[in-house]
């Protein structure tokens, strides 16, 4: 059954979108990741204009993160002070990102930029995860246990000025570091249509030294507001938020995530991570091949006088 997406201005099969939402939702339930970094490239593969894919995916991430952040707030797993600093950076970064997006779109380089950004980010993340899970599997077979994460190490980050107390995370560190992390993640959110949790969570643990118990809740807190800002700005300035598309993905995503969580409880973590890493690398590889292989037609049509496609 085809549905005409009003802002993407293409007809797409409803079941394909539900399946995509369900599949990525399943994976995000299985692995505990947001899934935006998989969804945006997949939407582009099925023919949604990249600009609309990025804008609509931001709306879907808002929806997908809301119930998570509410649950974490109820359990007291959100460091609002840290979240606030991350969010301040995120708002600046995402607002900047939407402007950059607009300029690149005018230059005809947004597709290239989105693809390159995904190749770089997915490639790096996929490799790290692959190495990590390979190591974990080797450790498991040799019977040793993973070394615990050391907190309160003295990193260069701790030498920065503007120190601030974060009682919930039991930290006294410079506000510049979380602000900068938030800024970078905010830019990614605007330019790539991702939540950025896959970068923010490791950064919070390894760079800021936050306790793992509050990391996920705090990053979700930042993601909800930053992607809401991206949704608003993309809709306002570029008209690239297709709410019909976002809702269809959400329906599939919510259902898929439930099954994912159940399936995840039955599988081993290291194998899961290895699997996810391979999938992330496959997406990055496909994007890279598309960039380096000679296109079927060197000529393509740009858009004029019509924003967002």
């Amino acid at each position: 059954m085809l549905i005409y997406l009003p802002l993407a201005e293409v007809s797409v099969d409803v079941f394909l979108l539900l399946l995509l939402g369900g599949g990525v939702g399943f994976l995000s339930g299985l692995f505990g990741v947001g899934g935006g970094f998989l969804m945006t490239p997949l939407l582009i593969f099925v023919g949604i204009p990249p600009a609309v894919a990025v804008g609509s995916e931001a709306a879907q991430i808002v929806a997908a993160s809301v119930s998570g952040v509410l649950a974490h707030m109820r359990r007291g797993n959100v460091d609002f002070r840290m979240g606030g600093v991350l969010l301040a950076g995120g708002l600046v970064g995402s607002t900047l990102g939407v402007q950059i997006f607009k300029v690149l779109q005018g230059l005809g380089q947004i597709d290239l930029f989105v693809s390159l950004a995904f190749v770089a980010v997915l490639g790096a993340i996929g490799l790290l995860m692959l190495v990590e899970s390979a190591r974990a599997l080797r450790r498991r077979s040799s019977g040793r246990r993973a070394a615990p994460v050391k907190r309160h190490q003295h990193l260069w980050i701790h030498g920065l000025p503007l120190k601030m107390r974060f009682p919930h995370s039991m930290l006294y560190i410079s506000a510049i570091a979380p602000f900068a992390i938030g800024l970078g993640v905010g830019m990614l959110a605007a330019l790539m249509g991702v939540g950025g949790g896959f970068i923010m969570v490791p950064a919070m643990i390894y760079l800021l030294g936050m306790p793992t118990s509050v990391v996920v809740g705090t990053s979700l807190f930042q993601i909800v507001f930053v992607t809401a800002n991206v949704t608003f700005l993309q809709a306002w300035q570029n008209q690239t938020v297709d709410i019909v598309l976002a809702l269809l993905l959400l329906v599939g995503g919510v259902v898929g995530a439930q099954f994912g969580v159940r399936a995840g409880a039955k599988l081993r973590g290291e194998q899961l991570r290895g699997l996810l890493a391979l999938m992330v690398l496959a997406v990055a590889g496909k994007l890279l091949v598309d960039l380096v292989s000679m296109p079927d037609d060197l000529y393509s049509l740009g858009t004029l006088g019509k924003a967002g496609v």
């Binding site: 059954m1 085809l2 549905i3 005409y4 997406l5 009003p6 802002l7 201005e9 293409v10 007809s11 709306a59 879907q60 808002v62 929806a63 997908a64 993160s65 809301v66 119930s67 998570g68 509410l70 649950a71 005809g108 380089q109 290239l112 390159l116 909800v224 809401a228 949704t231 608003f232 700005l233 993309q234 809709a235 306002w236 300035q237 008209q239 938020v241 709410i243 019909v244 976002a246 809702l247 959400l250 329906v251 919510v254 439930q258 960039l291 380096v292 292989s293 000679m294 296109p295 037609d297 060197l298 000529y299 393509s300 049509l301 740009g302 858009t303 004029l304 006088g305």
Partner: protein, 242 residues
């Protein structure tokens, strides 16, 4: 003076007054893009007076079109050069009752822009002609790949000596706007009858309302999109928490 003008007017309208050489109409003058739109087709039918062959030219709204060319930079294929053409129709189809070469001389094809190779696409005046030709070919190729142009000539079939009909197929991605359907009756290399029928492609229904709202009230649409997303996320979470 007045008498002369009246005579002139009479002369100008003489052929039509005597016998209309061509009448044609469409099965519908409106294509409505609804939420379930997956392309459609219209029937064009008509009658001719006396001998002749028929050409049908369907054109979507003209707009400035930008064509970009990729080049290899540091191993990556990226958009480098751009050329803009004025006068490119958003949609273009030609149908005829016989192969064009058999009855339409090049001068006519030029004048009525019959066939993609005769489309008047205006490149910047200072552009290199070889480049213009390459970019023009690129534009036509891309439009054909998107099924918006068709280099193939469609078939106008005659039912008996006077009645004719043809089907015009519009793909799912048909651009919106005001279209014109031009029907020409050609005899002996001359156009002896012409009729232009307007046609519209509009978005209607919920999809159209969403599109208009998103463009006319972009900021409010953005706020609503965020609210809908938050509510949908909360509701979905609430349903599955049980």
């Amino acid at each position: 003076m007045r008498a002369f003008l009246a005579l002139l007017a009479l002369l100008a309208f003489m052929p039509t007054a005597k016998a209309q050489p061509l009448v044609a109409d469409l099965s519908s003058h409106l294509i409505a893009i609804t939420t379930g739109f997956a392309g459609t087709e219209l029937l064009l039918f008509g009658a001719t007076e006396g001998e002749g062959d028929v050409v049908v030219i369907v054109r979507g709204p003209d707009s400035e079109t930008s064509v970009r060319r990729k080049a290899r930079v540091a191993g990556l294929w990226i958009n480098r050069d751009e050329m803009r053409f004025a006068g490119a129709p958003a949609f273009y189809r030609v149908a005829a009752s016989k192969p064009l070469a058999e009855f339409v001389p090049p001068a006519l094809r030029q004048r009525y822009q019959i066939g993609t190779e005769y489309l008047r696409l205006q490149a910047p005046a200072d552009a290199n002609p070889d480049e213009v030709a390459a970019f023009r070919a690129g534009l036509l190729r891309n439009k054909e790949a998107q099924a918006l142009y068709d280099a193939e000539i469609g078939r106008v079939s005659f039912l008996g000596p006077r009645l004719f009909r043809t089907r015009i197929v519009f793909p799912a991605n048909v651009p919106t706007g005001a279209y014109s359907v031009e029907v020409l009756l050609v005899r002996g290399g001359q156009v002896i009858g012409a009729q232009t029928t307007p046609m519209f492609v509009n978005k209607v229904g919920v999809g159209a309302d969403i599109y208009d709202f998103a463009h006319d009230w972009a900021a409010i649409y953005g706020l609503l999109a965020v609210l809908i997303a938050v509510f949908a996320g909360w509701a979905a979470g609430a349903i599955f928490r049980k």
